[in-house]
């Protein structure tokens, strides 16, 4: 399925709504194509290409909601899907928290679609894999990586007149290079909406260089250290900062079961909780991390401040909880922008007397939701810094740390970089807590 235009998507959704006999009806239509290539042991292992389109219809009678979906868009299939949603709605248990569907909204414009990404070919994917493999092979190393790209559209409309449309492209590249003696490992990760920003040769070199540098690591005693965390150590599928953002639900806070709960009731909005140099906001129209300007229930995503000068500004309010609290609902951010400085990673290293450079943190899991304590390990490039220079590679270590403590022990911020749909600076943190050594490479 190609990426449908706004007009074509609206035409189909209007047809869906015209079949509705429910009190309220809402439909979303999304689709696109994505391709990937996976490689390991210096050879391509799998490749794939998937095209899909999906129509989802929700019908509502009072507090009963039913949803149905279809993968075909002819009139008969659409009508069947609407009827099925209505049938399921009549059978559904009442959900006392079900909200009426949204009235028409005004959405920001976000330019997230780039034709060069939408037209990536299998040959291009193979060349990306080949670049990493050949660089690794030349130096007696082994590459394992994954490259995935896609072009998608999503649209929604409801019986109250709401309509929303977004189209986007994206690509993600990850590469792990291991030295064949098993003592070194390096990692690189990049993601963009516009593939023209991706440089397969240079970006693959990052992993190769880190693998070379990380050979024969030395053990140091676990304990509290000054660390420089690269963006991949802060935001990833399970990064410390993502976890901090994921914890920002107003409801859990108001219910007294979150770090963001205030002792005695309510939440911490308005309280200074982090170092005053911490400024975090989200903006789906940011040109470096453009994203969809509405979330799946149609709620607009707007520029939202989360932390300003260390003070908590907002929490995520879903429509139900906002209605209970009499406040405006606030959408979950698509990605965050953590403001920084103009300092490069090299500048941060140069200004460090003693410390540890961390490329990546992984297997991060919550230990205590009250304090936002997380554990995890360093991986794929951990180095000891002394007198402004990387001195040698060190063995990986396990940490037990809270992003709250970490962002109060802030020492310096570097220049933000895009990672996993966020803009995050490398940062230097005092007294980061490592609790044990790992033999893993």
């Amino acid at each position: 399925m190609s990426v449908l235009s706004k007009e074509d998507a609206k035409k189909i959704l209007d047809k869906v709504l015209s079949f509705s006999k429910a009190e309220e009806c809402e439909a979303s239509l999304s689709g696109g194509a994505s391709g990937n290539i996976r490689y390991a042991r210096n050879t391509v292992t799998t490749s794939g290409f998937v095209e899909d389109v999906s129509l989802s219809v929700s019908a509502k009678f009072g507090k009963r909601v039913g949803s149905a979906s279809a993968n075909e868009l002819d009139d008969a299939s659409i009508e069947r899907c609407v009827r099925r949603a209505e049938e399921l709605a009549r059978l559904a248990p009442e959900n006392p928290e079900a909200m009426p569907f949204l009235e028409p909204q005004t959405y920001l414009e976000s330019q997230a679609y780039f034709e060069p990404t939408a037209t990536i070919t299998p040959d291009y994917r193979a060349s990306v894999a080949q670049e990493g493999i050949s660089q690794a092979e030349k130096l007696g190393m082994t590459a394992a990586g994954f490259f995935e790209d896609g072009a998608r559209f999503s649209a929604m409309a409801n019986s109250k007149g709401l309509f929303a449309y977004h189209k986007s492209t994206g690509m993600e590249f990850t590469l792990t290079v291991r030295t064949n003696d098993g003592t070194g490992s390096g990692y690189a990760v990049k993601d963009y909406n516009d593939v023209r920003k991706f440089r397969p040769k240079e970006d693959s070199e990052i992993a190769v260089r880190k693998a070379e540098l990380s050979r024969n690591p030395r053990a140091i005693e676990p304990g509290k250290y000054t660390v420089i965390l690269e963006p991949a150590a802060l935001v990833s599928d399970e990064g410390l900062l993502n976890n901090f953002i994921f914890a920002m639900g107003a409801r859990a806070a108001d219910e007294g079961r979150s770090f963001f709960s205030k002792k005695g009731g309510g939440n911490k909005i308005g309280e200074k909780i982090l170092d005053e140099r911490v400024n975090i906001y989200s903006d789906p129209t940011h040109p470096e991390i453009p994203a969809q300007t509405w979330q799946s229930d149609g709620l607009p995503r707007e520029k939202t401040w989360w932390i300003k000068n260390g003070v908590l500004q907002n929490l995520v309010y879903d429509r139900y909880w906002a209605s209970q609290k009499g406040v405006k609902p606030i959408a979950f951010p698509s990605g965050i922008i953590f403001e920084g400085s103009n300092a490069s990673l090299e500048d941060l290293i140069r200004d460090t007397r003693k410390g540890i450079l961390v490329t990546r943190l992984w297997y991060i899991r919550s230990v205590d939701p009250q304090t936002l304590l997380y554990t995890g390990l360093t991986r794929d490039g951990t180095f000891y810094i002394e007198n402004g220079k990387i001195q040698y590679a060190i063995k990986n270590m396990r940490f037990n740390e809270s992003p709250v403590i970490m962002l109060n022990n802030l020492d310096a911020l570097g220049k933000p970089e895009r990672l996993n749909g966020n803009l995050v600076p490398p940062m230097r943190i005092r007294d980061f807590t490592f609790t044990s050594l790992s033999d893993a490479v």
């Binding site: 929700s58 949803s67 979906s69 959900n95 394992a144 893993a440």
Partner: protein
């Protein structure tokens, strides 16, 4: 999005409380879930289209999987039903070997024409892959089985139980927690029914009907005076069973120290939720642990996850070889250690075995997803590393001639690959109860239930927490602890294993959504053990002031 992300987003109210549907799945009604699938003969006829097209286009091997995957998920909190969703995904996946290379294609058009096109695509992909292939695929032989069937031995198909009965049951679970002092409680029920037909050019036609069930809850109490909160989740496991698992029959109960109740083949979820509310109130008042070395007594509802992470994953042969290096990682349990026949993975009483046959387990099937009959085999014998988990195109690497039968795909649209079978710790041979084990400990901690888990990418260093912690002093439990996490190294930990309770304490734990691969696939796996003692393990205190 994985389950964890979904639950986090659901908690934030960022979307409706429904599971993201797998690719090509559609929501269905209860009645549709019970409509019969194609007959054996119809599926055989369709699968033969794939096999014939592949062979006539040059394939040396082909398998076709016609799969109908039914899922149901129900979510509640306190006295509210937040959502109930049934879905179906139906299609066919075709895998071929041409010129020594794999090719795969899948379609949801389960018609002779749709299947023919998919088979042709799979052949075309294999031909392209063959150009880059460095070594041709070596497929271990497996016998032709003819027409065979296998079904999870269930008493009551959970999909046949009306949704209303299930939501009423979950609301009763919530009510039990609230009546016993919980401030918040959420409960869910996940059901899976895989109706899988497998056919291959080896001459096997296998029809399987597989059932799994996972009841889960989380109970929270907030202490308004201190602003602290604590939670507890269920002490029971997801199972490869029907709705009879929730029948609360007394033979499913294990009376443990301190009035704790463990569960085996049958689960009394209402009783567990009521106890959980009481436990959480005790947790709020529990003593914060003094860090140091302790002897740990680990209940099966906790130990399963440590087995999963520190034994199950490192012994996946594809990880050992480097195929997962960019994502989940590699393994410390390298081939040279296995070849030495003397690598002490654990103490001599440690016997860990893999199996895909254990009744009620999540991994139990008659045949794996490449048509191999399932079996049990040893991984660690008398403490020594003796084997890995391997499938048809891998076993030649470890000098074996027969696949272990642990190949799995999470959908007809996903390509099958090596997945973890059930991996379990054999019970102790001498008679030993949990109470007797605790009586022998001078300074220790008794841990029940799983919680936070983290392990490095080669599976050396790990850290685990739990649901309930009890301090043991001079052979007696003296009170509840909190803020407990233990850290160890896999080999050191399993070598510190000094006692294992006997088979009367043997129970399963398990994961419904274990992730692996890029793009990611999930699988369900159980891990059995009896309560086990590990000496002198490092315990840290996880309390922080923020």
């Amino acid at each position: 999005m994985n389950r964890r992300d979904f639950l986090r987003l659901a908690a934030l109210g960022a979307g409706a409380v429904i599971l993201p549907l797998p690719a090509f799945a559609r929501e269905i009604s209860e009645a549709e879930a019970l409509a019969p699938n194609l007959s054996f003969a119809e599926k055989k006829r369709l699968a033969d289209v794939a096999l014939n097209v592949a062979k006539s286009n040059g394939a040396s091997y082909c398998d076709a999987r016609i799969g109908r995957y039914l899922r149901q998920a129900i979510f509640t909190r306190e006295n509210k039903v937040l959502g109930a969703q049934s879905s179906e995904s139906f299609g066919v996946g075709i895998r071929v070997i041409v010129n020594g290379a794999w090719g795969f294609a899948a379609t949801n058009r389960v018609t002779p024409d749709g299947i023919k096109k998919a088979a042709e695509t799979a052949v075309a992909i294999a031909k392209i892959n063959a150009k880059f292939q460095k070594e041709p695929v070596q497929l271990a032989p497996t016998k032709a089985l003819g027409d065979v069937r296998w079904q999870t031995p269930i008493e009551k198909n959970a999909f046949e139980v009306p949704i209303k009965e299930k939501t009423d049951f979950l609301l009763a679970v919530n009510d039990a927690a609230l009546k016993n002092g919980a401030n918040f409680v959420s409960s869910s029920l996940f059901l899976v029914n895989e109706q899988k037909f497998f056919a291959s050019t080896d001459g096997s036609y296998i029809d399987q009907d597989i059932h799994r069930i996972w009841p889960t809850f989380n109970v929270t109490v907030v202490d308004k005076t201190t602003g602290k909160f604590q939670s507890r989740s269920e002490l029971a496991a997801p199972m490869g069973m029907g709705y009879e698992y929730l029948s609360a029959r007394p033979e499913g109960k294990y009376q443990l120290p301190e009035g704790i109740i463990g569960y085996g083949k049958y689960y009394d979820m209402i009783e567990d939720a009521a106890l959980a509310a009481k436990h959480v109130q005790q947790k709020l008042k529990a003593k914060s642990v003094e860090p140091g070395k302790y002897d740990l007594v680990l209940d099966p509802a906790h130990l399963w996850l440590t087995i999963h992470e520190s034994v199950g994953h490192p012994l996946e042969l594809d990880r050992v070889l480097g195929y997962e290096a960019n994502y989940a990682g590699t393994s410390f349990a390298t081939l040279d250690k296995w070849r030495s026949k003397s690598f002490n993975y654990g103490s001599p009483i440690v016997n860990l075995f893999a199996d895909k046959t254990q009744p009620t387990s999540l991994g139990a099937v008659g045949y794996d997803d490449e048509g191999v009959p399932t079996k049990r085999w040893d991984l660690i014998k008398d403490g020594i590393l003796v084997n890995y988990q391997a499938i048809r195109d891998q076993v030649h690497i470890i000098g074996e001639k027969e696949s272990h039968g642990c190949c799995y795909a999470d959908s007809w649209s996903s390509i099958q690959f090596q997945r973890m079978p059930n991996v379990s710790l054999a019970p102790g041979k001498a008679k030993l109860s949990v109470a007797e084990m605790i009586a022998g400990v001078d300074k220790g901690i008794y841990i029940v239930g799983d919680s936070s888990y983290s392990i490095d990418q080669q599976r050396y260093n790990f850290q685990f927490t739990g649901q309930l912690f009890y301090e043991i002093k001079n052979g007696k439990i003296v009170g509840m602890l909190k803020d407990v996490a233990y850290q160890s190294n896999t080999q050191e930990f399993w070598n510190s294993c000094v006692a294992i309770c006997d088979e009367s304490d043997y129970r399963l734990g398990g994961s419904f959504f274990d992730g692996k691969g890029q793009p990611g696939q999930v699988s369900a796996v159980s891990h059995g053990s009896s309560t086990t003692r590990f000496n002198n393990v490092n315990v840290i205190n996880t309390a922080r002031n923020v």
